[in-house]
């Protein structure tokens, strides 16, 4: 785009972000503070993910952007257009064709490969924030690996309600050391992070933090031996493609309680539909 550098950010800023990324990869799950810039999109709308993507994109990359699992949600469209405009890179909606996938709230159903990078948009990188608002204090807790507070929260859920009530953004232990927010993906997606072949990068623009999970790293949801982690999914099959193992969106079809369930991952669903038609 005229008057702007490739992928919008200037090269010095990209270098600063890449340094933060390298540190993040070296210490899996650790939140690296970085000099987040104001982007031409609002804070809270993916500025962290956008800055990470802008810093790693090359001209040969193929970019996929999803929000809620779908390529055609308005914010995904807006971010994809931003990079098509500022970097001129090829874009795709097919998970298998993408080299970089920026996502908000989902991990694609199809397993990712070692030659792919997934970039998560993160609203709140601090997994302890709901239990301890002070970031000065939570930093100390991470340094000491002092995560008893989170175990107590899970325990209290079980004691009072009989089950853990966290259904998304489920806290995970990365590489056996750092408690990490997986971003607000549904708990259904959390197991996909464990030992994933692709590099996972996380950007939180407003909170000015970057973190990462290198390929094939252990990512375990916090749980108890007698109350193991359970994931949640609407107990139905997709109306459009019949998938019984994908994450489903519930669509209200009338005002008399009518519902249908469809895959949240639009590429997964369409691929299955066209495969069935062929």
């Amino acid at each position: 785009m005229n008057g702007y550098n490739f992928a919008y950010l200037d090269e010095q800023t990209k270098r600063m972000i890449r340094r933060a990324l390298l540190k993040a990869v070296a210490i899996p799950g650790y939140q690296v503070p970085f000099g987040s810039r104001e982007m031409p999109l609002p804070y809270g709308w993916g500025t962290g993910g956008i800055q990470v993507t802008a810093s790693i994109l090359g001209r040969a990359d193929v970019l996929k952007v999803i929000d809620q699992g779908a390529d055609d949600t308005t914010n995904a469209v807006s971010i994809r257009r931003f990079f098509a405009r500022t970097a001129g890179v090829a874009t795709t909606t097919h998970t298998a064709e993408a080299s970089v996938i920026q996502t908000r709230h989902r991990i694609p159903e199809a397993p990712l490969r070692t030659d792919q990078i997934i970039v998560y948009q993160v609203p709140q990188p601090e997994p302890l924030s709901k239990l301890e608002p002070s970031r000065a204090e939570t930093r100390r807790m991470h340094a000491l690996a002092e995560y008893g507070l989170m175990h107590v929260k899970l325990y209290e859920d079980i004691a009072r309600i009989g089950a853990v009530t966290i259904s998304y953004d489920y806290p995970v232990m990365v590489n056996g050391r750092h408690l990490m927010s997986p971003s607000p993906i549904p708990a259904f997606d959390t197991p996909k992070m464990d030992g994933m072949a692709a590099l996972q990068l996380f950007g939180a623009g407003r909170e000015k933090r970057i973190y990462a999970i290198p390929p094939y790293t252990s990512v375990k949801p916090l749980d108890f031996e007698d109350h193991p982690f359970r994931l949640t999914r609407a107990p139905h099959a997709c109306t459009l493609c019949g998938a019984a193992d994908s994450y489903l969106d519930e669509v209200v079809t009338d005002d008399r309680g009518g519902r249908m369930f469809v895959c949240s991952d639009s590429d997964f669903c369409e691929t299955r539909q066209s495969g069935a038609a062929a």
């Binding site: 609002p42 809270g44 809620q68 055609d72 709230h105 002070s134 089950a163 019984a244 639009s266």
Partner: protein, 361 residues
């Protein structure tokens, strides 16, 4: 089937932008605003946008106000997003507000002092009656009577300083922090705090400052001095052995005098709360000075009990660009997470604890 896939996001966005442009222009029978009119006649709006946008450029700020339809936080965001793309050539010398070309200068602690009290262009003593003559263009404008004040106007706080009655300000070792390059970290020094407040939301600082007056923070403030005017901005060029004057900026500076009871080591004395911002914005500078002083509670050994005294709380929430982004992001789709919540609630209500993914269940 009633289900329509959420397709066409791209066309919807284009259509929304076209509608917005039409909405912004309003009735085409009404002449379009020129940015010069905004810069000249809506100066306080332009000033606020420059302060919160952290970029001194009245023309661009006027453009931002026009583009944002007068939504000043949106305008500040436009200016910030532009500012962040600019290369940085040099650091300026600290501006010398004591040498300001003063338009307005008042003190509430002395009846008179060298340089005198100068009311300047102020709304303070206007009666807030709608002036219906202004509704029609072309109303006669009264000429300002007196010439702008001349002569030196030493800072009022220095007068107190001579007697040792006000705590001297500690200088800064090394380079001041810069929030536009380095993320906020705690504990935050006063340099970083003041930078955050100078960029902070006027309404937020007003409310917090107000809260400190009403007992949430126990301040006993006096306006030592409030001055508005132009200061010279200078840069040092490494190749030259003198500083270069690169222009003037309008700033508002407020120095609040606050009581301090003293401690074992320190005799009773006055302490200072400091506010400085781009443009003419007394409310902002005063709010900032109140909050700056409130945040010094810990260092002065006072109890930290109120929001205005809690540095992490104030600094983490004073930036309206961050705040508006995160609050408004709630408009984005959240149906994946909501679906998880729905299933969790349904499961808990059903009293089952078996849950889990069972294909085709």
């Amino acid at each position: 089937m009633a289900y329509v896939a959420v397709k066409g996001g791209e066309r919807a966005i284009d259509a929304a932008h076209a509608w917005l442009a039409e909405d912004r222009r309003g009735d085409p029978a009404v002449p379009e605003l020129a940015t010069a009119q905004i810069a000249e006649q809506l100066g306080r709006a332009v000033d606020r946008v420059m302060a919160e946008g952290a970029c001194y450029d009245p023309d661009l700020a006027a453009l931002a106000v026009k583009q944002a339809q007068g939504d000043l936080i949106e305008a500040a965001f436009l200016l910030r997003a532009y500012r962040t793309t600019l290369p940085r050539f040099a650091d300026t010398r600290p501006v010398e507000t004591g040498a300001m070309a003063v338009r307005r200068r008042v003190s509430a602690v002395f009846k008179d002092m060298p340089g005198g009290q100068v009311l300047g262009p102020t709304y303070d003593y206007t009666h807030r009656l709608l002036d219906f003559d202004l509704a029609e263009p072309g109303a006669a404008v009264a000429e300002a009577g007196s010439a702008p004040p001349g002569g030196p106007m030493p800072g009022v706080m220095d007068l107190l300083g001579h007697e040792g009655l006000i705590q001297p300000e500690a200088g800064l070792d090394g380079r001041p922090g810069d929030l536009t390059r380095e993320p906020l970290a705690f504990p935050a020094g006063r340099d970083v705090r003041l930078q955050a407040l100078a960029r902070g939301d006027e309404g937020f600082l007003l409310a917090l400052g107000y809260s400190s007056q009403r007992g949430y923070g126990g301040a006993h403030p006096f306006v030592g001095e409030l001055r508005v005017g132009e200061v010279t901005v200078e840069v040092e060029v490494p190749e030259l052995d003198f500083t270069l004057d690169i222009g003037d900026v309008t700033v508002t500076e407020c120095q609040m005098v606050n009581q301090f009871k003293g401690s074992k080591e320190v005799p009773p004395q006055f302490t200072r709360g400091y506010g400085l911002c781009f443009g003419h914005s007394e409310r902002k500078a005063m709010g900032m000075a109140l909050v700056d002083r409130a945040m010094r509670a810990a260092e002065l050994g006072e109890d930290v009990t109120a929001p205005a005294q809690t540095v992490e709380f104030v600094l983490s929430h004073c930036d309206n660009i961050e705040a508006t982004g995160f609050v408004e992001h709630l408009k984005l789709p959240h149906y994946v997470d909501f679906q998880s919540e729905l299933e969790t609630i349904r499961r808990l209500r059903a009293g089952t604890e078996t849950g889990g993914v069972e294909a085709g269940e």
